[in-house]
């Protein structure tokens, strides 16, 4: 049997991590060949939807490398990225796709050795996890759809506003010159991630065909009462509308959100 050779995409910031990778090369430090590097100017450039897209295309792992805190060429891009990846892992956890396939690490320009170690270790980890459920000829449709829902949720304004504002709100201060305790923010984010994910999941499901609350409850593994709550919230945002009623069962259909 051929050993599983994972496909790993690495997003490296131009100033520290990419230089670190170069240094590994100059120093002829060996590491597994599975990684394909994409250079970006700053790790903060990696919008949560980018790793999701990459996963949907079948990558077995995604690693984002940026400068160490304090070293960012753009001052704090890396710290913003840290929040995005944290949110993204929460989101992935809901989809059934292993969050461990995503990692964020800091690698400086002088850390050629560390770069190699990180890549080696991540490759090992992915090997242990095995192939992505979305790789190969028969990707798992359910997980693919879940990732699509996650992508849509990550594109929606609520998560973007929260993730974008997290550092200001928890580390500096909000518009009232108050700091929001991290735990409080985390539980809020948790709740919003869950709600947005489910809503976009429902949206995708009902896009294909009108569905009832019960059918949706089965598909998203939630109590019908909670699904109904989400539908009410989705109606307010014009994401969904009543399509028709069969007997005593209303069916809902997604509205196109452009």
């Amino acid at each position: 049997m051929v050993e599983f050779e994972p496909k790993i995409i690495g997003f490296l910031c131009n100033w520290c991590s990419y230089a670190g990778a170069d240094l590994a090369g100059v120093s002829r430090i060996q590491y597994p060949s599975n990684i394909r590097v994409v250079r970006v100017m700053c790790s903060g450039r990696i919008d949560p939807i980018i790793p999701l897209e990459v996963f949907m295309h079948g990558a077995d792992g995604v690693i984002v490398l940026g400068c160490h805190p304090g070293d960012c060429h753009y001052s704090e891009g890396n710290l913003y990225e840290e929040r995005k990846i944290k949110m993204l892992k929460k989101l992935l956890a809901l989809t059934g796709f292993e969050p461990d396939r995503l990692r964020l690490e800091w690698v400086s320009a002088s850390e050629g050795q560390r770069f190699a170690e990180v890549v080696t270790e991540f490759t090992e980890q992915i090997k242990k996890l095995g192939p992505s459920p979305l790789s190969g000829k028969k990707p798992d449709d359910r997980i693919l759809e879940n990732l699509q829902a996650a992508t849509n949720a990550a594109s929606d304004f609520r998560l973007r506003v929260l993730v974008g504002g997290e550092r200001e709100l928890t580390e500096k201060c909000n518009v009232y010159e108050e700091k929001i305790p991290q735990e409080e923010f985390d539980s809020l984010l948790e709740e919003v991630v869950k709600a947005e994910y489910v809503r976009h999941k429902i949206h995708l499901l009902t896009r294909a065909q009108p569905l009832s609350v019960r059918a949706l409850a089965g598909a998203v593994e939630m109590k019908p009462a909670d699904v109904l709550d989400q539908i009410v919230a989705m109606r307010r945002r014009n994401m969904i509308a009543l399509d028709h009623v069969e007997g005593t069962t209303p069916f809902y259909k997604a509205l196109e959100v452009k």
Partner: protein
């Protein structure tokens, strides 16, 4: 009453506390009568509970449809200042001159800048439980309570806001102010009206019904939101547990009412009707078959036309009624279905339902004790406001008045009537200061543009990004410039902002504009503002037109930028075609004779007369009988025991007779009424047979009602069978003696001939039964009833009577009691539903609770005034819900038992209400009417009378001119609906501002390209 001379100057302003429908009505009446009003509410907008309701009984009218125009009118009234998020912190001074201290919470929004576009709420990332939807949906942390809210100003929920700053970034109007602080204010007012409403009962306190534990048990107010088309489920009735449409719903009445255990002994007065209404509407809103069952103790459909509704609910709509107090509700956790446990026919029963609705009662508002303490008013034992029978709007503190559910649980029309009544009382004590706190607006003289070619100016609003983000506004402006007669067009960031008003005025003058168009949001809220602006620039306000490219274009075609732009162009082209044809309209001015005519001198008529006289108006009070007093003469004592009605009557008559401004005509009748609002001429035939002609500005109909003369139960054939009034007289005289008394309810009421309830007989029976028991506790008293309708606090006396041994026995129409004379002995046989047997008693006296029926004069009075009667023969008001004392015809009002049977305190409230409504007219030297009225071209009129017949306001009369009979529009009465013009076979009638030419020009311009 002689005018009081006090050291402290009185103030012509009133504070109204609470912005529900009662507070709104009181505010409008005061403001329309020349007083400054401060309307405060503790929430961010006015509207109260009525804004949450779906439909209203007994007409099934849409609640928002009828409330929203009142909200807008209050919000725009120059004499009303709305202070939201406000609470009273202190009160100094006394009646006529109060100093009120307020604390206002911060909105974190600059109200003057916020134009309510709502883009902030769309982008706010935080979701909060939406209490307007009773927790069944979500709203944003920056929000308005509901889309039609007044004032339409957003507010930040500081507790839930995380302070991300998104709203500030997105608000193009720069209205967000995060460091805005709460404020204190001091108001100087002459009187105060309390209308803080009620608090719905907390259903979790009745844990046996499972509310809060079983998702498919909901409260009635939640159910209102479920029924509402704008509610969480879009108006489809769904089970919260699984989103399925229920097939079977149970309505449980008296949850938190008539409940000794929890201390709410009183009846909440409105729940029977709203429960029935919810059942009916639920059936209407459900596509599949829905079974609705109402579990009740007594069906208290005591109001006007309520029993007719009850009949229809049972018959036409097929609602099932079960007379039983529900013992408990349990759930099948698998299905979420509910088991309702109850006792019927002495047998415990269990029935399965898909959903249960708890008809929750009314409680006093939250924190009411604090409010009472700060104001120094007394509360009753249930913590509602304490009032007396003969002064139902007066609190224990002079100058502080009350109305609405805070005085006692009540429905909307009763609240509205009482609110107008409270307004009369509040203005009464400061009548001398009328007009001192209000400022009237002066406009420059109007330019004559009749000889000019139309020169149209078009102002297209970006509305921040609300329109501009979808519609290509510059392109619309460019297009507008190409349209015929458009000489000027420009775009504005916000056309409604203060500085744009200035700019519009300048552009009108600089470009010699004589027609102005604003393409922006809805004319329903913004047209008055722009009309004012063009008027300030010397144009007739009817030379303004508006088209809605936001609510009906950019907001509803958000993703089709090009098509939306094309539609906006179509809309501008269409309205420009109309604008070209616009003609200046004159607002008819009608002089007002500041004199009132009141028909009927009972407690209602006398009260209304005293109120009007107190306001400084002359009154003619016409009574048919030899003496004043009416029905009140027959009342010997009260259920509430405190007051002596005889003494009250005497003092009322004395006040009326001694009042210089009141001209009393007894033994007289009104024989003819001509004219219209402000300008009536009537003939009174006096006792001496002579006719007197008087001029007056308004009419109040207070003709009262009479006791039904029974034909049933041997009445008239046997002297031992008497009516309640006859009994009352005997008791008062001390001539009544009996060992055994049977009272029979609903005699002459709730039958085929008169389907409606006579309302006061239940209270009367309880009152007299208590009196009998008081004098002779051993006398047996039976009351045979269909439903004991002891609503509100009268429930206390029902309980007292039962405790004192009065035996209440329910009978159904199928088994009416039988009264017979057997060998000189009276025998009453009736079915005893508990022991399930026919029972026979031998009473000494049988008392019939005879209905209160319309005054036979009503027909004649109605014909004379051209106002309608109900099928039963009572007078029919303009609108059963929101205009309880108005007729559709302006200037004519009604009150008391002419409207329907009612208790003294209710008649007094309505009488004061009629006086307040009349004062909105009498207080003005002249009335400025709406300019949009019908006009008759006399050359074309064929005198066919179709228009006269069609007009619901009696605004068309036929006049003889040069031998021809022609239609003539009484501009004062015309409301501008245009129904007459549409029906006119010779097209002789045109409607100002909505002429046929104008409408057709719009049609043609709209379809210009369709045809090409």
């Amino acid at each position: 009453m002689p005018e009081e001379k006090t050291d402290r100057k009185k103030i012509g302003a009133v504070l109204v506390v609470g912005g529900g429908v009662a507070g709104i009505q009181a505010s409008l009446d005061l403001a329309d009568s020349g007083f400054k009003v401060y309307l405060i509410d503790q929430g961010p907008s006015i509207g109260g509970v009525m804004a949450q309701l779906d439909k209203t009984f007994p007409t099934n009218d849409c609640s928002m449809c009828i409330l929203s125009p009142k909200l807008v009118a209050t919000g725009r009234h120059p004499n009303v200042t709305i202070l939201t998020n406000a609470e009273i912190t202190g009160l100094n001074g006394k009646a006529g001159n109060f100093e009120v201290k307020l604390r206002r919470k911060s909105r974190y929004i600059i109200e003057d800048k916020c134009n309510g576009c709502g883009i902030c709420a769309q982008k706010c990332p935080i979701e909060v439980v939406d209490m307007y939807n009773e927790g069944l949906g979500k709203r944003s942390a920056i929000y308005v309570e509901y889309p039609q809210a007044v004032p339409l100003k957003y507010m930040i929920d500081r507790e839930k806001c995380i302070g991300c700053g998104t709203c500030q970034e997105i608000c193009k109007a720069n209205a967000i102010q995060y460091d805005q602080e709460g404020s204190e204010a001091t108001l100087e007012v002459g009187s105060i009206i309390l209308a803080p409403g009620f608090e719905p009962f907390d259903a979790t306190l009745k844990s046996e019904y499972g509310y809060g534990r079983f998702p498919n048990v909901v409260t009635s107010i939640e159910f209102e939101r479920i029924l509402s088309a704008s509610g969480p489920y879009g108006g489809l009735v769904l089970r919260p547990s699984d989103g399925e449409i229920p097939k079977k719903i149970a309505f449980v009445q008296c949850v938190g009412s008539r409940d000794f255990q929890i201390g709410n002994n009183y009846c909440s007065a409105a729940c029977c009707m709203y429960g029935m209404k919810e059942a009916v509407i639920a059936k209407e809103h459900t596509p599949s078959k829905l079974d609705a069952t109402i579990f009740y103790m007594d069906m208290r459909a005591y109001g006007k036309e309520f029993d007719a509704y009850y009949e229809r609910a049972q018959g036409e709509w097929g609602v099932r009624f079960v007379r039983s107090r529900v013992a408990g509700v349990t759930e099948d956790p698998k299905t979420g279905n509910l088991f309702v446990h109850y006792v019927e026919d002495e047998t415990p029963r269990t029935e399965e339902f898909d959903m249960v609705v708890l008809s929750i009662g009314m409680q006093p508002p939250k924190n009411v004790e604090k409010l009472a303490e700060r104001l120094g008013i007394r509360l009753n034992k249930y913590k509602f406001c304490e009032t007396e029978t003969f002064s139902p709007m007066e609190t224990s503190k002079p100058g502080v008045f009350v109305c609405g559910a805070f005085a006692a649980p009540k429905d909307i029309p009763e609240s509205v009537a009482q609110a107008s009544g409270a307004a009369a009382k509040a203005m009464g004590i400061i009548a001398s200061e009328r007009g001192t706190q209000v400022t009237s607006k002066e406009y420059p003289p109007e330019k004559d543009v009749s000889k000019e070619e139309p020169r149209i100016g078009v102002f297209v609003c970006h509305c921040g990004i609300n329109i501009g983000g979808v519609v290509n506004v510059p392109e619309v402006v460019k297009y507008a410039k190409t349209l015929p007669n458009v000489v000027y067009a420009e775009a504005n960031l916000y056309t409604c902002s203060q500085d744009t008003q200035k700019l519009i005025r300048e552009k009108i003058i600089d470009n010699k504009l004589n027609r102005v168009i604003v393409a922006s949001c809805t004319p329903r809220t913004h047209e008055p503002l722009f009309k004012e602006t063009v008027q300030e620039a010397g144009l007739n306000p009817y030379l303004f037109e508006m088209t809605n490219i936001r609510d009906q274009c950019s907001w509803v075609h958000m993703h089709e930028h090009e098509k939306a732009t094309e539609k906006a162009k179509d809309l501008v082209r269409s309205i420009a075609a109309k604008a070209k044809l616009l003609k200046p309209l004159e607002k008819p001015i009608i002089n007002v004779t500041p004199v009132g005519l009141i028909i009927g001198g009972g407690v209602s008529g006398m009260t209304a007369a005293l109120e009007l006289a107190g306001q400084g108006f002359e009154v003619h009070l016409v009574e048919r009988e030899e003496e004043l007093g009416g029905h009140l003469r027959k009342i010997q004592y009260l259920l509430e025991k405190k007051d002596d009605p005889k003494k009250k009557l005497d003092s009322l008559v004395k006040s009326v007779m001694e009042n210089d401004r009141i001209h009393v005509y007894t033994g007289a009748e009104v024989v003819d009424v001509y004219g219209f609002v402000g300008n009536f001429k009537s003939k009174i035939r006096q006792q001496n047979g002579k006719e007197k002609e008087i001029e007056h500005g308004i009419v109040i109909v207070a003709t009262g009602a009479v006791e039904y003369k029974p034909t049933e139960y041997l009445y008239g054939k046997d002297t031992r069978i008497i009516t309640q009034h006859e009994l009352e007289e005997k008791i008062a005289k001390g001539t009544f003696k009996a060992k055994n008394v049977v009272m029979i309810q609903c005699v002459g009421a709730r039958n085929e001939e008169r389907p409606n309830c006579a309302r006061i007989c239940c209270g009367q029976a309880i009152k007299n039964a208590l009196k009998i028991k008081e004098a002779s506790p051993e006398t047996e008293v039976y009351i045979l009833y269909k439903d004991m309708r002891a609503y509100g606090f009268k429930e206390d006396y029902y309980r007292e009577a039962a405790m004192k041994g009065v035996i209440f026995i329910n009978y159904e129409d199928e088994r009416k009691p039988q009264v017979a004379d057997e060998n000189g002995k009276l025998k009453v046989t009736f079915w005893e539903p508990v022991i399930k047997e026919e029972v026979e008693v031998e009473p000494d006296v049988v008392v019939l609770s005879a209905a209160t029926v319309p005054n036979p004069d009503n027909k004649h009075v109605a014909e004379m005034l051209k106002v309608p009667l109900t099928k039963d023969g009572f007078f029919l008001e303009a609108h059963m819900k929101l205009r309880p004392v108005d007729f559709a015809t302006d200037g004519i009002f009604l009150c008391g038992m002419a409207h329907s049977p009612k208790y003294i305190e209710e008649s007094i409230a309505q009488a004061c209400a009629a006086a307040a409504r009349a004062t909105t007219i009498l207080s003005k030297k002249s009335l400025e009417m709406e300019g949009i009225v019908a006009n008759v071209s006399e050359d074309l009129c064929s005198g066919c009378r179709i228009c006269e017949y069609l007009c619901p306001y009696g605004a068309v009369e036929m006049k003889d001119k040069d031998g021809k009979t022609l239609a003539h529009v009484i501009e004062a009465l015309c409301k501008g609906c245009g129904a007459c013009g549409t029906a006119c076979p010779t097209k002789a009638i045109t409607m100002g501002h909505f002429t046929t030419e104008e409408i057709l020009a719009q049609v043609k311009a709209t379809l210009l390209e369709a045809k090409a």
